[in-house]
Amino acid sequence: MKAMAAPSLATLERWMQAVVMHPEGAETGLRAPKARRLLAAAARDPSAVVLPSKQLSSVERLEIYAHMYYARLVEVMETEYPTVRQLLGPHAFAAACRSYVAKHPSRARLLNGLSAGFPDFLAKSLPRSHRHGLAVDIARIERAMEDVFDAPASTPMTAAEFAAVNGRTRLAVNPALVLLELRYPANACMNAMRRGEQPRIPRPRVTRVIVFRRGFQVMRREQEQVQFRLLQALVAGKPLAAAVRASLVHGAGNADRVAGRLRSWFEEWAGAQLFIKKIK
C-alpha cells in the first residue's frame, strides 16, 4: 500500500473533529463522507493517522474523544434542564440532547448558550403528547432561568424614583427578566416536581410566567393575563399610560378592574426588582 502523505495541520484538525463529533461515534465517523473527504486513507487504515497504543487501537483512542464530546455536553444540559430530564427520563433526555448537539454543535467559546435552541428543538422533535408538550414548556422555563442567571447586573429603582413615575414615564426593565406565555401550567408542575412530587400530566391551559433575578436569586412567578400584557408593553418600551391602554386592548380585563389592581401589581414588580435605574 502506498504510504499516505503527511496531512496538513488544518486537514488533521478538521478530520479529527469530523470523526469525534460524529453522532454515532468515531468508528462510524471515520467512514462518514465528511471525514473521508478530508483523509480518505484513514477510513481504510486509521493507524495511518492515529497510532495505536499497547492497550488501545487507533479507533478506540479516537472513541475516547468522541465519547467525551457528547458526554460532556449532555452533562452540561443535565444541569440546565433537571426537570425536563425528570419528566422525559434520563435515557430519552440524553438521546434528545445528543440529537440536539449533533444538529446544533457549539459555535461559541462559552457553554452558556449551547442549549439556547433546545426548547424549540424539543418542540419540533418530540412526539405530540401532553407529557411532551409540558416538557417543552418546562424547557422554556429552565432555559429562561439560565439566561436570567447570566444576565447583566443592574440597580433597582428606589421608592423615590417610583414616586416620580407618571403616565409618560418609560420604565427601564431589568435585563434579568424573561416573559413566557406557555401552553401548559408548567410552572406549577415544575414546582411540584422539584418538591419531589409526581404531578399528573395536565391538560393544556395557557399560563404566563415571568422568570427574573432578584439580587442573585433566580425566581419564577405566574402572572394574570392583563398583568402579563402590561409587563410586555413596558418591556417593549411603551410609556406607562400607553402600556396600560395596550394591555386593556389585548387583555381580558376591564379598565376599572385593571386600575384597581395596578398598585398591587407595581408593588409586586418593585419587590421583584423588575424595574431598574436607567443607564445614563
Binding site: E13, M16, V50, K54, R61, Y65, S106, N112
Partner: protein, 265 residues
C-alpha cells in the same frame, strides 16, 4: 475556585495563598459568579486559567474573546492568564475539549505564531499547560515534551506544568514520566497543577474527581526537588468535596514543597 465553595470562601476567608478561576466561567455572566469573584479578588491573588483559547487551532484568532479575557484579567487583577497546548475546535465549531495537536514542525510554527500574536494583543505572556492526551498522531515528529519546551522558548511564553497530566499522558502513550519531566524547562514553569484521575486499566482519563494518587505525588516531589518550589494548584472539578478536603490536599502539597516527603505520605 468552584461555585460550590463561594459561600464558604466569602464567609470564612480561609487561609489560602491564591485562587485559580476557569476564565470562561466568569465571562458573559453578570450575576452571582461575578459578585463572589469580585469579593474574592479583593482579598486574594487570582490566576486565570482558560479552556477555550484554542491556541493550536487553524481557525482565525478570536479577538473578541481575547477582549473579554483582557477585561476580566483587568477586573480581577489577574497575576497571570493561561490556557492549554491544544485546540478546541475548527471550522467555527467548538468541541469544548482539549484536543491534541500533531507534534510537527508545522504545528510548532503555527502555535508559536499564534501564541506570540495573542500575547502581543493581551500585553502579557501566556501560561500554557501540557494537556492530558489520549491519542498520538502518526504525523508527529517529536515527543510532546520537546514540542512544549520549544514552544515555550520560541514563543517566549510561560508554562503551567500539570503533573497529573504528565502521568496520564505517559500512561496513555507508554512513555516514561521522568524523562518527560526532565525535558521540561522548569525555568519557564510558573505554576503547577495537581489533580486526581480515573484509571480505566487500558488508559487513564483526566477527570479531576478525586485525590491525587501517590505516583503523581512522587512526580511532584521530583519536580519540587529540581524547581525548588512553585505556585501549586489542586484541581477538583467533579464530585467536588468540602473545602476542608481541598485544604488537606493543598497542605499536603505544601509539605512536599518543603521537602518533607515522609510527613506528607
Amino acid at each position: 475556585m468552584r461555585t460550590q465553595h463561594f459561600r464558604h470562601i466569602t464567609s470564612k476567608w480561609p487561609a489560602m495563598d491564591w485562587f485559580e478561576i476557569v476564565s470562561e466561567n466568569f465571562i458573559d455572566t453578570g450575576g452571582r459568579p461575578m459578585h463572589f469573584l469580585d469579593q474574592v479578588a479583593e482579598r486574594y491573588p487570582i490566576v486565570m486559567h482558560g479552556v477555550s483559547l484554542s491556541v493550536g487551532s487553524t481557525d482565525p484568532i478570536d479577538f473578541a474573546f481575547l477582549d473579554k479575557l483582557k477585561a476580566l484579567a483587568k477586573r480581577v487583577k489577574a497575576r497571570w492568564l493561561g490556557d492549554h497546548v491544544c485546540w478546541t475546535g475548527v471550522a467555527g465549531l467548538n468541541g469544548h475539549d482539549l484536543y491534541p495537536v500533531p507534534y510537527t514542525e508545522e504545528g510548532l510554527r503555527h502555535m508559536v505564531s499564534r501564541v506570540r500574536t495573542i500575547q502581543d494583543y493581551l500585553g502579557q505572556p501566556l501560561v500554557l499547560e501540557n494537556p492530558s492526551t489520549y491519542l498520538t498522531f502518526a504525523a508527529s515528529s517529536m515527543p510532546e515534551e520537546e514540542f512544549i519546551a520549544r514552544l515555550a522558548e520560541d514563543a517566549d511564553c510561560a508554562l503551567l506544568l500539570d503533573v497529573n497530566n504528565v502521568y496520564v499522558t505517559c500512561r496513555n502513550h507508554d512513555l516514561d514520566p521522568l524523562a518527560y519531566l526532565d525535558a521540561i524547562p522548569l525555568d519557564r514553569v510558573v505554576q503547577i497543577h495537581l489533580a486526581g484521575h480515573t484509571d480505566n486499566g487500558t488508559h487513564c482519563i483526566d477527570t479531576h474527581d478525586g485525590r491525587v494518587v501517590d505516583a503523581v505525588w512522587d512526580l511532584y516531589a521530583r519536580v519540587m526537588a529540581r524547581a525548588g518550589g512553585r505556585a501549586t494548584l489542586l484541581e477538583w472539578d467533579a464530585g467536588i468535596p468540602k473545602f476542608s478536603v481541598l485544604q488537606q490536599e493543598v497542605r499536603k502539597a505544601a509539605r512536599f514543597r518543603n521537602g518533607v516527603r515522609e510527613a506528607a505520605a
